[in-house]
């Protein structure tokens, strides 16, 4: 077996991919990180204290990993799912009943819940170790936006199965928007925005209407949430994660005592 690997390492194909020998020397352990696109997220050397599980709880890493799981299982789900009032529920039913190894819906849903939990715990860890202090103030802020995005991703996804649980949870969650000061039709100050005795903000044009694309959670909402869930928010989140990781490195790697 080791012989096979050794001879494999000598082939032109292998050498065209990996431009260094096995990572058991200082030089090659450096090269493996420097010459690999994915590994170069990391520095070559890291603080020993910073990579202890008892220090980071691995919660940031798990959040990112769960994001990847969600991307892959989500992609598979998109093969079977049509975001219309007519088909959405049926498609989920069919997925459940007829698709062999139809585990991806379960993995997608539980992974999403898990991601919300890990992102909270990651924030908790970063706070307890004071890692938001200079020079990491900005990265903490990127993190806060990522936290909001994680919740938005989860919330928009909640609607897609189009069952009772889905539409009512989203109805309850978006009802608040009605009460946005000035911008929601039941919000304080909205009644003051009048032009010639006509209310400018009403149920047909307030922020809730803009969110739901209607007065109630309906088919237009489903499409809107679907697009945001599958394209909009993931793109923004992925971009910000890239910034987040880049800043972890630029701010001196995972924090530790100076």
């Amino acid at each position: 077996m080791p012989d096979l690997l050794t001879s494999l390492r000598k082939t032109q194909v292998w050498k065209s991919i990996f431009r260094h020998g096995p990572p058991n020397t200082t030089r090659n352990r450096t090269l493996v990180v420097l010459t690999n696109f994915f590994l170069h997220l990391h520095p070559v050397k890291v603080r020993k204290s910073g990579i202890r599980l008892s220090y980071t709880w691995c919660m940031g890493g798990l959040t990112f990993f769960l994001f990847l799981v969600e991307t892959i299982t989500g992609l598979l789900l998109m093969f079977y799912y049509r975001p219309t009032a007519e088909f959405a529920f049926q498609d989920i039913m069919a997925l459940r009943e007829h698709v062999a190894l139809g585990l991806m819906r379960e993995m997608h849903r539980w992974g999403a819940h898990a991601m919300v939990i890990t992102v909270w715990l990651h924030m908790y860890r970063v706070f307890l170790t004071g890692s938001y202090k200079p020079p990491r103030e900005f990265n903490w802020n990127v993190g806060v936006i990522l936290l909001v995005l994680t919740l938005l991703l989860s919330f928009t996804g909640y609607l897609l199965p189009w069952d009772q649980l889905a539409i009512w949870a989203v109805t309850v969650g978006t009802n608040m928007a009605r009460a946005t000061p000035f911008l929601g039709h039941e919000g304080p100050g909205a009644a003051l925005l009048q032009l010639g005795g006509v209310n400018l903000v009403h149920a047909g044009d307030d922020v809730r209407f803009a969110l739901l694309s209607g007065r109630f959670v309906g088919e237009a909402t489903l499409l809107r949430f679907y697009v945001l869930h599958c394209v909009g928010f993931p793109l923004v989140a992925a971009t910000l994660m890239a910034v987040h990781f880049w800043r972890v490195r630029k701010d001196g790697g995972i924090s530790g005592p100076l």
């Binding site: 590994l39 990391h42 070559v44 050397k45 890291v46 603080r47 020993k48 204290s49 990579i51 599980l53 709880w57 691995c58 890493g61 798990l62 990993f65 769960l66 799981v69 009032a85 989920i92 819906r105 379960e106 993995m107 997608h108 539980w110 819940h113 898990a114 919300v116 939990i117 909270w120 715990l121 908790y124 706070f127 307890l128 004071g130 890692s131 202090k133 200079p134 103030e137 903490w140 802020n141 989860s154 189009w162 009772q164 649980l165 889905a166 009512w168 109805t171 009802n175 009460a179 946005t180 000061p181 929601g184 919000g187 304080p188 009644a191 109630f216 959670v217 530790g256 005592p257 100076l258």
Partner: protein, 362 residues
């Protein structure tokens, strides 16, 4: 015997007692952290919780609520939050002891040590990924994702709950109107979180666990995260049933149970019950006592804190006027949550200021 325990637990988890107990619990945990984070205490606590959990699983109500598929993550979260709170505080206690003796803390001992990403970090990551995948696959096989009846806009389920991670905010709806609980509060939470690095100017405790070098910051954050967020999510998930009425963990959910609403506005308290006069017709005059109270809260408490508390004076000197003002405003808003809750429980206060004409109720 069993019934007595159940009734006792039901009574303890009444929102008033529950909230009070969580606060006392957090305070005691921080105050007696040396004893309570000791591994022996931690094991005893774990054993106690497991025993309680097993005992409770024999109860049909408890079992049906806890094993509802979408509630399982919250049980997992609760376990993780408790465990990691213990872990973080334990390391803080150990570090504080080391530093008091003038030694390097646990992180400092190793922070000069640089190790290679390959293999040290890469393998840790790999193991975490494999374990996480395995856990997720098992979880997905054991527990089916929930799917209820097809969407029916005309049939409102009772209770109607938001997704679980927003249940802390939904709980706030009991005490505040939607424009505060659903719009102002979430915005302030986000702004407040973002402001943290600019308001906490204490250079100590950067990159290691400690409690004694930043007691206020840690206690404050734990209060927000553990009490006002996590524990209210737990309350909203497990203890709020039909009509958003409160049900103990062993109390069956009864659709017809309605708590009578006997809440009273401050204006009523002041004019009618206090002065024995009818409510003034002029809305501004009617609400004057409440407005005065709110203005006083935000205008008088900051200087009062400054003149009575050394801690706050040192913050003021450190932060300067503008940052201090931001800090104190966020603090006062956060504190207004428990204050309003307590006022509701003790004197059934509905609104401090109420202009229902303009949907402006506080």
């Amino acid at each position: 015997m069993v019934d007595a325990i159940k009734n006792f637990v039901n009574a303890l988890s009444n929102p008033t007692v529950y909230f009070f107990l969580t606060i006392v619990g957090l305070w005691a945990y921080l105050q007696f952290r040396k004893q309570l984070t000791h591994p022996i205490s931690a094991w005893l606590f774990l054993l106690g919780s497991v025993a309680f959990f097993i005992f409770s699983m024999f109860d049909p109500t408890f079992r049906s609520v806890v094993t509802k598929p979408d509630n399982v993550p919250i049980v997992i979260m609760l376990g993780l939050v408790l465990y990691l709170t213990w872990l973080g505080l334990r390391r803080a206690v150990l570090n504080d002891e080391l530093m008091k003796r003038g030694e390097a803390n646990l992180e400092a001992k190793e922070s000069k040590d640089r190790v290679f990403t390959w293999p040290d970090l890469v393998y840790t990551e790999l193991i975490c990924m494999v374990l996480c995948t395995a856990a997720l696959v098992v979880w997905s096989i054991v527990l089916r994702a929930p799917l209820e009846e097809p969407a029916a806009p005309a049939r409102t389920p009772n209770p109607s709950k938001a997704p679980w991670y927003f249940l802390g905010l939904q709980e706030m709806l009991v005490y505040y109107d939607p424009w505060i609980a659903g719009v102002v509060l979430p915005s302030l939470i986000i702004v407040g979180l973002m402001a943290i690095p600019y308001l906490d100017r204490n250079p100590k405790g950067n990159g290691y666990y400690t409690f004694e070098e930043r007691p206020f910051a840690i206690a404050f954050f734990m209060f927000g995260f553990l009490i006002l967020w996590v524990s209210l999510v737990v309350l909203g998930t497990f203890l709020r049933g039909p009509n958003w009425s409160f049900f103990g963990p062993f109390q069956p959910w009864d659709i017809h149970f309605l708590e009578p609403l006997v809440n009273v506005n401050l204006s009523e308290y002041f004019w009618v019950r206090g002065l024995g006069a009818p409510l003034p017709a002029n809305a501004i005059l009617r609400e004057l006592p409440g407005i005065a109270l709110i203005v006083a809260y935000f205008a008088l408490v900051p200087p009062l804190l400054l003149s009575t508390s050394k801690l706050f004076r040192s913050y003021f000197l450190e932060l300067g006027a503008a940052r201090y003002a931001t800090f104190i405003m966020l603090l006062l808003v956060e504190m207004s949550l428990p204050i309003k809750m307590v006022l509701r429980w003790t004197i059934n206060l509905k609104y401090v200021v109420a202009f229902p004409e303009y949907f402006f109720n506080i």
